[in-house]
Amino acid sequence: MTARSSVVIRLAGESGEGVISSGDILTQAAARGGYWTQTFRTYPAEIKGGPCMYQVRMGGERIYSHGKRVDLLVCFNQEAWDLHWDSLAPDGVILYDQTAVEIPEAYAARARPVRMEQLAREIGGSLRAKNMVAVGAVAGVISFTTTPIEELVLRRYAHKQGVADANIAALRAGGDEGADLRGSLAIVDPVEVEEDRILLSGNQAIAVGAVAAGLRYFAGYPITPASDILEWLSAKLPQVGGITIQCEDEIASISSVLGASYAGAKAMTATSGPGLSLMTEMLGYAGTAEIPCVIVDAQRGGPSTGLPTKTEQSDLQHALYGGHGEAPRVVIAPTTVEDCFWSAIDAFNYSERYQVPVILLTDQGLATRMEVIHRPDTSAVELWQRATAAGVQGGYRRYELTPDSVSPMGIPGQEGGQYVATGIEHDEHGHPAYTPENHVAMQTKRWAKLEPLRNGIVRHESYGDERPDIAIIGFGSTYGAVREAIDLARAEGLSVGAFYPRVLGPFPAERVEAFCAGARRVVVPEVNFTGQLARLVRGECGLRVESHAKCDGLPFTAEDVLDVITERTPA
């Protein structure tokens, strides 16, 4: 049997049973053992109980999506089998606890009972060691050395030698369980590489990226799936001299962020759809008063309170157009966890240079998945600062009409830069002014200053054929699955390529049109109900596009996208 380049492992059971911790340990160990990984999890919105699932895909080469067909399914309880059996690959292997799960006869040859509970109690010293038995069994089946796992255990229980020993014994006992299955899903050995890699989530990547960009004030209100950003920054921001504050609501969060930015600090807030709705009035203010700020929207299933723990890309239109009047903003959609880091820096850079609010549009899938990525080279980080009124000599005009429409900003403390920031239409001095000429001039200024983002300086993402027969236009977190699907489709001889605008507002219509110029089909996959991106592409580019919108709360898999590309009916 030849070793596989990657395996998809799915652990399933009741929330609180150790499913998540098993997945976490496996992911950490895989990353430290030299594998590329990506995770995907579903969990109930309730705190205790309810089915949960943790999927780890690990392999010898960079992994872009979480995978569809499950090679190795670990069932902690009967419900896990009932919910997940039909995701199994044709040669998929099942590990299960015989005391809790019954596997149909037809699967018996590929199923292997593992005494999770019994061994946890007898060897691991407590039922809690169940996860170690499970992880040990998984390691056995895929021929993954347990060394990195044991290192993790030793570190975790550094102060409790007894617990560490018991856990390691449970791990090894789990590994011994399926001697007959050992290595049946053997995975290639990771290649020893020089480069540095890190393992983190999309939320974490945005948080560190923001710190790298110079973030010094963060305010937020807890909401799934954005809360980790608030939590991580609460711990870390003081270490660089900054402040994180948990506000009374999202309105206060963004208001205080604008106050802090007005006072000269780089400031950010993070939320999900419901919070973005509350922030919308202030978002319009920021655009009008020209105050830089960054707003992370980790989208989740909507509408309303919707599906708090499920993914969706349905805030696109809100991010682009939400609010009264027509207020400028920039919308960036990061494509991968690695891109989350760089996008946070871009967000601050654009925000500072153009004195505009920037929305970073991720989603539950991207925000919470763990990915092994190249460690960002911080020496390559380039930072832009806003133009300020330092040194102005008399006659300062805050909203001066300049050739590039960007006007120097007075920062409290700067002599001679005094002005009143206001959302009321104002003249160059910032004084209320309602003449038709003035309103036209100011609206023009506020929108014109963003043109460089439409036409030049932005780094977009593309993959596959440059002049494809089948052109895919997508945004954000679907990138990985699309990328893998393109590899599969090209292997079948098809001409396919994808273009991912990283900045969606202002929309790079010319770039999209140019990319699609020779295409027979333009395909737009997205995770929402109404096909928001497809409509945007139709409207901005006048192209005929096929919308492939889905809103089942789950991210696209490469196979889903391949079905779209090949026009096959889904398997």
């Binding site: 309105i251 802090a260 930015s261 830069g417």
Partner: protein, 292 residues
């Protein structure tokens, strides 16, 4: 011999923009008191920020030559908090109306107070919505007839002084626009106070709720023997109603800014590279050597 630089005068804080208020509006008296208080404190216009919400009263920052932030209806307090926390060197005062502060903005008030953010909040209380032409506000009297209450106001007015004390404001006072000398003094004391200071300034709306003459009759000063450090006495005074002018409560307690400052100083200094190290997937890296 060098001479001390001349102290700034009230006129130095005039922006030159003419207030848009109706002739006789109480807000003129508040603005005059503010100019005088700023002059008395000799505030540096380049390091002073006046934040407001939306309403007639909230147009005030435009008439002052300092930095200003004319924000959104109900939002001056969180904005002012962000300004102050981002740059503790600045003198920050938030101003606005009773509708702005206690209807749409009421959710922010107790939090600014309990956090003890070092800002002053000056509410021009006319017991009515001025800018939207005379609807009742949360401080309007029961039975008051207004465009939105043609049968009389069915609601009970909010006692903002008691609310402030209950919320943990560390300085609570009341002044009146028609008593500029005393109001000036209150603003000076509030700005000098370290922590969240709240001033309710009676400021008649001559257009829609002209109580000026009644109010002049009703106001009396807080008794000289009132113990401003006694919270129960402060509540008592606030609940008694009537119009007592002066400081009703004052306490010295650490501000949110000071606490954050201490937190920053106590944190071990770090940088992005160290933060990235914590995510390192290198073998043996972040997980360290096994500790036997």
């Amino acid at each position: 011999m060098s001479t001390a630089p001349a102290k700034r005068k009230p006129a130095d804080y005039k922006s030159g923009l003419k207030p848009i208020w109706c002739p006789g509006c109480g807000d003129f008296g508040v603005l005059a008191s503010l100019y005088r208080a700023f002059a008395e404190l000799d505030l540096d216009p380049a390091r002073t920020v006046v934040v407001s919400g939306i309403g007639c009263s909230s147009r005030l920052p435009g008439f002052v030559s300092t930095y200003g932030f004319h924000s959104l209806h109900g939002r001056p307090l969180p904005v002012a908090m962000g300004v102050k926390l981002a740059n503790p060197e600045l003198d920050v005062i938030a101003v606005g109306g009773d509708g702005d502060g206690f209807a749409i903005g009421a959710g922010h008030f107790p939090h600014a107070a309990r956090r003890n953010v070092d800002i002053t909040y000056l509410v021009m209380d006319n017991e009515i919505y001025g800018l939207t032409k005379g609807q009742v506000s949360p401080t309007s009297l029961t039975d008051q007839r207004a465009p939105s209450t043609p049968w009389g106001n069915l609601e009970t007015p909010l006692n903002t002084l008691a609310f402030a004390v209950a919320s943990g404001a560390s300085f609570v006072a009341r002044g009146a626009s028609f008593n500029t000398k005393a109001l000036t003094e209150l603003i000076v004391q509030a700005m000098e106070h370290r922590g969240f200071s709240y001033i309710d300034a009676l400021s008649p709306c001559v257009m829609f709720n002209n109580h000026q003459e009644e109010w002049k009759e009703l106001v009396t000063d807080v008794a000289p023997d009132h113990d401003v450090h006694d919270k129960a006495a402060a509540f008592d005074l606030a609940l008694k109603g009537g119009f007592k002018l002066g400081i009703i409560y004052r306490e010295q307690r650490e501000t949110l800014g000071q606490k954050y400052q201490a937190l920053v100083e106590a944190s071990k200094a770090s940088d992005v590279d160290a933060m990235l190290d914590a995510f390192s997937a290198r073998k043996g890296a972040a997980i360290g050597k096994p500790t036997a």
